[in-house]
């Protein structure tokens, strides 16, 4: 039986160690996000060059979420947020996870085994967001705290948001590197022959 758990950010490793695959999590506090491939590429490049990121990431989080932002009255107005496909960033995530000692990441669809191993090394967790959940996720945003790289298109910018009970988010990769996505994929592939046999039987 999976559980519902409220987490207050910022987190420590101890908060994450007990999370189990399939647990549903609600986040309260500040999160960092971007949905831009060029953004993640630049973060990794600058990390290797020793340039500090424009938003504090050390020991924190970055989520694969895009934000529709509008400059208004000297600040930023958020129209909506939504997750993007995490595997697009697979080649970059291990460097980011280990480079910034990230404790939380997430988006939709999971990450590769290499990324899961990187999370195991930092004791971090991947949270699966509901795709197509823009109205629900946007309701959880209380404020836009910070926007970096504003010259980029809206969803590529790095955004720090204050959220209240953002979720439900499913624990997809736990702090030991176990991946719900990898487990489900292994089961599915293991069923292939049996399913083909059932198809043959059904054709008669």
């Amino acid at each position: 039986m999976s559980r519902e758990i409220d987490l207050q950010l910022p987190l420590g490793r101890a908060d994450l160690a007990g999370l189990q695959l399939g647990d549903r999590v609600f986040l309260t506090g500040e999160i960092v996000s971007s949905a831009g491939l060029p953004t993640y590429e630049r973060l990794v490049r600058e990390l290797s060059e020793g340039i500090a990121p424009p938003v504090a990431l050390q020991g924190g989080c970055i989520f694969h979420l895009g934000s529709a932002l509008e400059a208004r009255d000297g600040g930023w107005h958020l129209h909506y947020i939504n997750p993007t496909t995490s595997t697009r960033f697979d080649a970059l995530m291990p460097a980011l996870i280990e480079g910034f000692d990230l404790l939380l990441t997430g988006g939709k669809g999971g990450l590769s085994p290499e990324s899961a191993r990187a999370l195991a090394r930092t004791g971090g967790v991947y949270l699966s967001f509901p795709g197509g959940g823009a109205p629900i996720l946007t309701d959880a945003v209380e404020a836009v705290v910070e926007v970096a790289w504003p010259e980029m298109v809206s969803h590529y910018r790095i955004v720090r948001l204050r959220v209240k009970r953002l979720g439900p988010l499913t624990v997809g990769i736990d702090a030991r590197g176990n991946s719900l996505f990898a487990q489900i994929d292994t089961v599915a592939k293991g069923r292939r022959d049996e399913i083909l046999a059932a198809l043959a039987q059904s054709r008669g």
Binding site: G66, G132, V153, K189
Partner: protein, 288 residues
């Protein structure tokens, strides 16, 4: 031409409608899936998806932040008196919407050579045409398409394949997509014809309302067994496990040569689509 203004208006309305509501057949299929699901995680995910659809409808809000690229399918009745420069009018309607829509769309139209993103670009919107003999209406379907489910479509060319090979291929494409395409998805399969036409049939098959099996009982039986086969994989809603990976498989086929293309296309759970018919005199009937 005479009806350009009408088509321009509908071009904007079709896209705007498609991104703010989940079609009725899809909501119904999601509710049915809730009743079948055996795992709590899957039921909770489906409940969240239904809640998101409900909130989007109540508030006239976007269901997803990625509204995709605009794709229109125009079906011209051979007896229709409607006359328009359809491509130009739909483009003008879409661009006017982009200019005025609130909240704004994110720029997702991508130049594939430079990766630059914008709200429009070369060849966009994508507009294709077909003709329906003996009817006096024009039908336009809008299907905004994004990477999330779009990237998992596939096509393979076989020579004289058996049904078993065709079905195994569909299953393998579903395994490759796994739970990445925001399931539960609508699956379209196109078999036969030519390279380009098989892809077109697969795409059009995804646009057929769920719960509407093929009229040929043998093809309907194939749809039913492929639906059960894909759901037996267990990827489930959002890929976090469960009995519902697809809300339905639709198959279309066409005679071809000995080389047989098989194409598979997916629509994510929000199954974006809007459809309008224009009758003689410009009477507009919203079908979905």
């Amino acid at each position: 031409m005479a009806d350009d203004a009408l088509i321009r208006r509908l071009g904007g309305e079709l896209f705007n409608r498609a991104v703010r509501r989940v079609p009725d057949d899809t909501v119904h299929a999601l509710r049915q899936a809730m009743e079948r699901e055996r795992t709590e995680t899957a039921r909770k995910t489906l409940a969240m998806q239904l809640r998101s659809a409900e909130l989007a409808a109540e508030r006239n809000a976007f269901v997803c932040s990625d509204n995709g690229i605009p794709v229109y399918f125009v079906r011209l009745g051979s007896e229709s008196p409607i006359r328009a420069d359809f491509k130009a009018a739909l483009k003008a309607g879409y661009e006017a919407l982009v200019e005025n829509v609130q909240p704004p769309f994110l720029p997702h139209v991508t130049n594939p050579l430079t990766r630059e993103r914008s709200h429009t670009g070369k060849g966009v919107p994508i507009v294709t045409f077909d003709q329906e003999g003996g009817v006096d209406w024009v039908e336009i379907v809008c299907s905004p398409k994004a990477l999330g489910s779009g990237r998992w479509a596939a096509l393979e060319l076989f020579t004289f394949p058996s049904i078993a090979e065709i079905e195994a291929y569909v299953l393998d494409v579903a395994i490759r997509a796994g739970g990445q395409h925001c399931p539960p998805v609508a699956v379209g399969v196109g078999i036969g014809g030519t390279f380009d036409y098989a892809a077109k049939m697969a795409k059009e098959a995804t646009l057929r309302p769920l719960g509407t099996p093929h009229t040929d009982p043998e093809v309907a039986a194939m749809e039913d067994r492929l639906t059960r086969a894909i759901n037996a994989l267990g990827y489930g809603p959002m890929g976090t496990g469960g009995d519902t990976t697809t809300l339905g498989v639709h198959v279309e086929w066409c005679a071809g040569h000995g080389f047989t293309p098989v194409a598979v296309a997916f629509n994510c759970w929000i199954n974006r689509r809007s459809r309008v018919r224009i009758h003689p005199g410009g009477d507009v009937e919203w079908i979905e």
